[in-house]
Structures are given as C-alpha cells and as structure tokens.
Amino acid sequence: MANIISDETIEYVGILAKLELSDEQKEQAKQDMGNMLDYIDRLNELDTTGVEPMSHVFPVQNVFREDVVSNGDTREQLLSNAPAQKDGMFMVPKTFE
C-alpha cells in the first residue's frame, strides 16, 4: 500500500467529518482510505497540464432569480421534525459554559 494513513490524519478526518470512531473503526478506516487513495492515485498517470478543472458540464454561471417568497408558512411542519424544540425554535445543547 503506497498511501499510509497516519493516526493523526484519521483523527483530523474524524474532526472534519464530525464522526466518532472506535479504535477498531479507525484501523479499518485507515486501511479503506489507503486502498482507495492508492486507486485514485492512478489519475496521476494522466497529464492534465493546462486542463481547466470542470465543475459543471454546461457553461452556466450564476443563476439569479428575484428573492420572492413562494412557499407558504410551514414553520409548524418544519419544527415538528426537530429532535427538540422550545417556543417555536430549534433547541440545541449548551454551546458554551
């Protein structure tokens, strides 16, 4: 395996991905990601010098529209999906002491 994923890297990815992994899961993730990156490294066989990255297949740029409300008031419906709510607002755990 050419790509060795370090403990630090997997910790960092866990933070970015907001995932909590057990030690066993971390080992598995290191192996899976290493294998996948080895496979992706094949792209380096291609010379892409001077090729613009293509994010969209059609040449569309920003699409603008008037900022007009077109949907009705769905506040109650939306809040009914929240794991916790209070006084018409989403309730979150304490964010600072």
């Binding site: 991905a17 907001k18 995932l19 792209l43 699409v63 939306l78 794991p83």
Partner: protein
C-alpha cells in the same frame, strides 16, 4: 388482458376508456405488495390509505376530462430519497428514520399533476451509496428473478417493484448508474436523462453535480412517457435547464436507418462476462440489420472514470451530508456531552458504514493540502472524459455497450471489497461525469435466467435518439417477460 400484464401507458388508456378505474388498479398493486413484499422488501413505506384516496381523486379528474396525460391514474413507486409532503422519507438511513418532509420534490409534483397515484417509497442503498441495495438500514431488497440475488442499486427497490408487479413504474435517481444498473439486473427499462432535465428540488442530495432523477419502467414507451412527465425547468434548482424538446413520446419510432452507432472497444475488455458480451453484441448486430451504421471505436480513459467519480462524489457527499447533525430533523443521539459531541455521536450512530467511508474520503480529498492533488485533479480528468465523449459524438449518434459487467450477483457477495464493488460501475459512471443521457433495457438472459441489460448512451439533449433506438430494438427483441411471469415461460 389482466391489469397486471398492462404497461403503464396501456393501463392509463384502459382507465380512460372506462375498462377499469384508478382505484381498482391501485387496489391490485396494494394486494400484490401485501402478498409479496414481505419477501422482496421493495418498499420502505407503503401508503395504503393515501394511495386509495389519491386514486379516487385522480379517477374524478380523469372522468371530468381535467387529467388526460399518458400516465393518468397509474400507480407508481418513488425512491425514498425524494421528499413527499407528509410521507416518511428516510433515504434508507437511520439518521432520517423519523423525517416527514414539509414539501414535495418537483419531479414527484409533476407526476401528481399528471395523475400519478403514489403507492409509497422504494428501498435503496443508504443515501444512494451502493450498487446492491444491501446498505439500506431497512433490510435488503431481493431480486424478483432470484431471491438469493441483489436487485442492484442504489434504486434497487424501484427496479424490483417494477419487475415484481408491485407498481407500474417508478422514479429513481442515478448518480453513477443507480437507475440503469438495477434496471439491468431486474429486467426493466431505466433512463438517466441529461443533467438538468429533471429538477433536483426535493431530491436529497448525494453528488449534486452528478445526481439526476429518471424513470424505471416496463418498456420504452412507458419510459418516454415518464420522462416527458417529469422533465421541467425549475427555478428552485439552479442547475435546471430550459429545453423545449421534452415531447419524448414523439421519438417512439420503429426505425434506425442511418443511425450511427459506435461500440467502444474499451467496454468489451477484461472483466466482462461472456454471456453479457454476446447478448449485447447480438443486439448491435440486430440494429445493424435494421439499417443502423454500426462500428467499433476507442473511447479511451474508461479506466479513469471510476477513480474520478469516487473522488468527486465523495467530496460532494461529505459536503451535502454535513446537514445531518441532529438539530433540525432526523435522529439525535440519546447520550452526549455538549454540542460537538452531540454532532459526532448523532452522525456516528445515524450513518451506516459505506456512508461514513465516503464522507471520510470526501472530507480528506477536500482538506487543505490535498485539495489540489485529489479533488482538482479529478475535476481535470472529468474535463478529459467529457472531451472523449464529445469526440465520439462527433462521429456517432448513439454509443452502445453493456450496463454492467455481469448479471445480478448473490446477496452478501459484494460489500466486503468496496473497490471490487465500485468496479461494477465501470460502464455507467462516465455518463454521469459527462452529464449525458443513457438508457438501459433488457437484451436477453444468462444461463441462470437472469436478465442482461443493454446500455445506449447519447450526447447531451439527445434523449430522442436513444428512445428511438431503444424502441426499435424492443420491437426486434419482442416482449420481455416480467419476473412475476417467468415461471410460466
């Protein structure tokens, strides 16, 4: 002819003529689901009462002449990643186990306006990440042709429901082959339209630059009718495209004289099952005999499509799935300390293994220090792949090849080796990278009686050439049995 033997378009005509009613059709489908779905598990949610109520309303609209489209009154299944107001929408994930949307996806709304009766939500790979429907949090779906085999994925519930006569057609989504491959494994027709043809509003995003909604149907006529019904320009989806040529049923023409068909040699190399290869090349021969100009060519870059796709799709998935954090909807972990720990626990408990694998890979390729080497590199290769297709379509109207290297694999044989599973997407994935339309339709069966799929790929906005070629081939081939009737054969 019994109702179940009818295609969607035939059923709608029968309802309009008074030979049957939308309510009777819905009841027959609900009875089929009741009878079989404990085995197949095509559906995550079945909306019995809602379906019968919709059927009564649609019947009245048909009788009053208000609803006259080709699919009016016909019962359909919707993949469980499309929002329907008031109906549980899980994406086959634990993290959305209790999510009831406040609005309906535009494509589904278009169907409803045209008189569809929605039976329920079809099972899928969790967040559409998978090729077998085995990563669903709500159990595997079984292939109606052989219940020891997978239906394909990620729209496996849709394809199996059509094959098992548990709906007349379904709406799926295709990010890397997720409509075409299960259609192939289940012996149904499936189409991925040109990117931007169908609004993604209300489709729970996986890889936004690749995702596209499309129909899974019993035949090519139903496919054209389905696509014609859902295609629309939508200001709520900024990637939606305004195109005036969505009268796809006008392309149901039994004639391929002069159609230039290219067969990419790259799609017939190592890894392709011999029986699949023979069936696909036989179809090409038959189209040639009907007057198409068929020749082989080198498409190039085929082996780079999969690593390009998994980089881009994982990157977009890691960003799109950030929203599942236990605050606004869905599952929240029961035990946590503070906000960040709640996020982490909720996501770790709520997402399955394949989803976590892709979120982590995506987070990595987008992270500072790796962004250029992985993500931008993949976007550059994507440009090269698009160019290879542009070159091919300067010579050909249609590219013809297999959908998948094999017929449906056995349950439990795919997930252990992710890269091997990803390789199964080799013939479908480049189509999404290049934004192209492609259709999958049955072209035979292997020695085990499992359906083999033929894939036709067109240039952007050339769905009509695909529909015309597929329709002509279907006429040559003759009727393809549905799984429910295979034992009678």
């Amino acid at each position: 002819m019994s109702i179940m033997d009818m295609t969607a378009v035939e059923l709608s005509a029968a309802i309009k003529s008074g030979a049957t009613t939308a309510v009777e059709a819905a009841q027959i489908m609900l009875d089929q689901i009741e009878k079989q779905d404990a085995v197949y598990n095509c559906y995550v949610t079945v909306d019995r009462e809602g379906a019968l109520k919709q059927a009564e309303e649609v019947q009245a609209r048909i009788e009053s002449g208000e609803c006259s489209g080709p699919l009016a009154g016909v019962p359909a299944a919707i993949k469980d990643n499309m929002c329907i107001e008031g109906m549980l929408t899980t994406c086959s994930s634990k993290i959305l186990s209790n999510f009831v949307p406040a609005y309906t996806a535009e494509a589904v709304l278009n169907l409803k306006k045209a008189g569809a009766v929605i039976l329920g939500k079809a099972n899928m790979d969790e967040f559409a990440m998978g090729s077998t429907t085995e990563t669903s949090a709500y159990g595997v779906t079984r292939n109606p042709w052989d219940t020891d085999r997978v239906p394909g994925g990620s729209s496996g519930g849709c394809a199996a429901a059509v094959a098992a006569d548990e709906c007349f057609y379904a709406l799926g989504s295709d990010t890397g082959g997720s409509i075409r491959q299960p259609a192939s494994y289940c012996g149904t027709v499936g189409m991925k339209p040109t990117y931007g043809t169908v609004s993604r509003y209300g489709l729970i995003a996986y890889g936004s630059s690749l995702d596209q909604i499309g129909p899974l149907t019993k035949d090519v006529t139903d496919c054209a009718a389905g696509l014609q019904t859902i295609a629309s320009h939508d200001v709520k989806d900024s990637t939606s495209i305004e195109r005036g040529d969505t009268d796809f049923m006008s392309a149901l023409i039994d004639d391929v004289r002069g159609m230039r068909i290219g067969i990419p040699r790259d799609y017939f190399g190592e890894g392709l099952d011999e029986e699949v290869k023979e069936a696909v090349l036989r179809a090409a021969k038959e189209l040639e005999q009907r007057g198409a100009a068929v020749e082989e060519f080198d498409l190039s870059l085929t082996e780079y499509a999969i690593p390009t796709y998994y980089t881009i799709a994982a990157a977009e998935a890691s960003s799109n799935l950030e929203r599942f954090d236990g605050i606004k909807y869905g599952y929240r972990a029961g035990d946590y300390s503070g906000l960040h720990n709640m996020y982490k626990k909720t996501r770790s408990e709520g997402f399955g293994e394949e989803v976590k694998r892709r979120i982590m890979l995506g987070s990595f390729v987008l992270s500072s220090g790796y962004y250029d080497a992985y993500y931008l590199k993949a976007l550059r290769v994507k440009a090269l792949i698009k160019k290879a297709f542009d070159d091919a379509f300067s010579k050909y109207d249609v590219i013809l090849g297999p959908v998948a290297p094999t017929t449906a694999p056995r349950l439990g044989s795919s997930l252990a080796d992710p890269i091997k599973m990803y390789l199964g997407d080799i013939y479908t994935i480049a189509v999404n990278l290049a934004g192209l339309p492609a259709i999958s339709l049955p072209c035979g069966a292997d020695r085990n009686g499992l359906p083999i799929g033929l894939q036709l790929i067109g240039d952007c906005f050339q769905e009509k050439k695909l529909i015309q070629t597929a329709y002509t081939y279907e006429k040559i081939r003759g009727a393809f049995p549905s799984a429910g009737k295979k034992e009678v054969e």
